[in-house]
């Protein structure tokens, strides 16, 4: 929009937007600041904002007392594993729907979307039971499978909307030149699809990292990722503001950074292509 705006108007917009932005961001900022305080400073009255003795002690203590790295590793394995497994299954499906659509394609896509709407609590006990039977309770592989399944519809949808933007003529040209299906996928499609696949991986990694129904209900000490680790701080004996903040900061920092790269994909992925 090429509208000319007075500097004064721009300054007002800027001030207002920054004030609101900082207010919304404040709980995160406050958590990060508190993570560098001692426990005494963390509950000081009145609260201290910037001028305190910064310490890294909390980060060391969190690792030492609770073996934080193990939970982090569980999160990485569960979020990464479910995303990659989902991509492996979804790429062929999305590819065929985008390039060889049939009359049923639309129905299949919408049906997949409908499985995403299934309320988790409605199938909690059956999944719990199946997990016990198969020995999957409190295992990383169990959560990899469940999180892959709950995010599969989103992965297929995102990939589908990206693949559909690749012009079909290029594929036809490759076919005319005698490319086989395998060559077509490997040499023509893949290079064009890489950015879309990367965005899909990014968003789904974030969603899986933050998932907090199945991770809370299907894990105990063994496979618990960061969501469950943080939840263990809700019991009063774990109540130390500075340590809670340090643990929280470590749990959200990687995702905040990844999230900044995924703003656009977020819209596409979570509205199933309905808003672009």
């Amino acid at each position: 929009m090429a509208r000319t705006v007075t500097t004064r108007r721009k300054a007002i917009n800027t001030a207002l937007a920054w004030a609101i932005g900082l207010t919304i961001f404040f709980p995160i900022l406050w958590t990060i600041l508190t993570s560098f305080k001692t426990e005494a400073t963390a509950i000081a009255d009145p609260p201290v904002f910037l001028f305190f003795d910064w310490t890294l002690e909390n980060y060391a203590v969190v690792q030492e007392r609770s073996d934080y790295m193990r939970f982090l590793w569980n999160s990485v394995i569960i979020a990464g594993g479910s995303t990659l497994l989902g991509i492996l299954i979804a790429v062929p499906a999305a590819w065929s729907m985008a390039f060889v659509p049939s009359r049923g394609t639309k129905d299949i896509l919408l049906w997949m979307l409908s499985t995403k709407m299934l309320p988790a609590v409605g199938v909690l006990y059956p999944i719990y039971l199946i997990f016990i039977q198969l020995g999957l309770l409190d295992t990383r592989i169990g959560l990899v499978i469940v999180l892959m399944l709950i995010n599969l519809p989103i992965i297929v949808w995102m990939l589908y909307t990206y693949f559909r933007e690749i012009p079909g003529e290029i594929l036809e040209a490759a076919r005319m030149d005698g490319a086989s299906l395998r060559e077509e996928i490997l040499y023509v499609l893949t290079p064009m699809a890489v950015p879309g696949i990367a965005s899909t991986i990014l968003l789904n990694f974030i969603l899986a990292w933050n998932e907090a129904f199945w991770t809370l209900n299907l894990t105990a000490a063994g496979a618990a990722p960061l969501t469950a680790f943080i939840a263990s701080y809700s019991s009063p004996e774990g109540l130390f503001y500075a340590k809670l903040s340090a643990a929280s900061t470590m749990a959200i920092a990687p995702i905040l950074i990844l999230g900044w790269f995924s703003q656009k994909q977020l819209v596409r992925g979570l509205t199933f292509g309905a808003v672009k």
């Binding site: 961001f25 995160i28 299949i108 199938v123 909690l124 907090a212 809700s234």
Partner: protein, 288 residues
Amino acid sequence: MATQHSRSAARLMMAPAVILLLGWMLVPLTMTLYFSFKRYLPLRGGDQGWVGFENYIRFVTSSSFWPAVQATLVIVGGVLVITVILGVLLALLLDQPMWGQGIVRILVIAPFFVMPTVSALVWKNMFLDPVNGLFAHLWEVFGATPIEWLSQASLPSIILIVSWQWLPFATLILLTAIQSLDGEQLEAAEMDGAPPLSRFGFIILPHLARAITIVVLIQTIFLLAIFAEIFVTTQGSFGTRTLTYLIYQRVLESQNVGLGSAGGIYAVILANIIALFLMRIVGKNLDA
């Protein structure tokens, strides 16, 4: 364009995703349906036979059902109203020219990336705590008695936490929609002397209608299922026991699987009604 050969190849490529999702949907759902018609208490006698629709009747006639419906409606409704209204305003603001727009956008979107257990615990302890929370300090500054937020104002507290998490989502989608608005149309209206409010009411809002509908539908589905936010704050006490949480308690805490499963089926039906509307919109978009 597609040959017979590529058709069957396409079907084959779709098969794993379709079969997995079909299994994921049908197997547990069938089991839930099965349990819902049984008196089934794993820790107290196990499977005690078929009871017809008794669980369905007991779930809706129990004294905790209507309070749970009410809590669910208040939380979902409250969060929707707050996130949509603030989301529209914030999106309009962020669409204006300003310095540091990219950074402000990042600040606004950040809460969406915070895992639910973290945001619930941070709010619970560092903001809403009646002794050490920042809100308590703020209240003291004005000479007021600090509120015990999570017990005295439990529903508003949950709404606050959840709204904070979902406002970025609403804002981002509405901002994307605003940016796709035809600027010339707005300029023309401006030149014709249309005041800002009527430009908003007659051009921007109608343009946003579809995006708002999508935000409402998607958020409703996610909001009906919120769990961690209640799990780590009130555990369903002080009137914050939503339908989701009630079913969870029936199934895992009191281990009354039959009753919980009947509740689960109600939840599935409810979610499907909302999903139907959402899919109609998304489906229309597929044809375009």
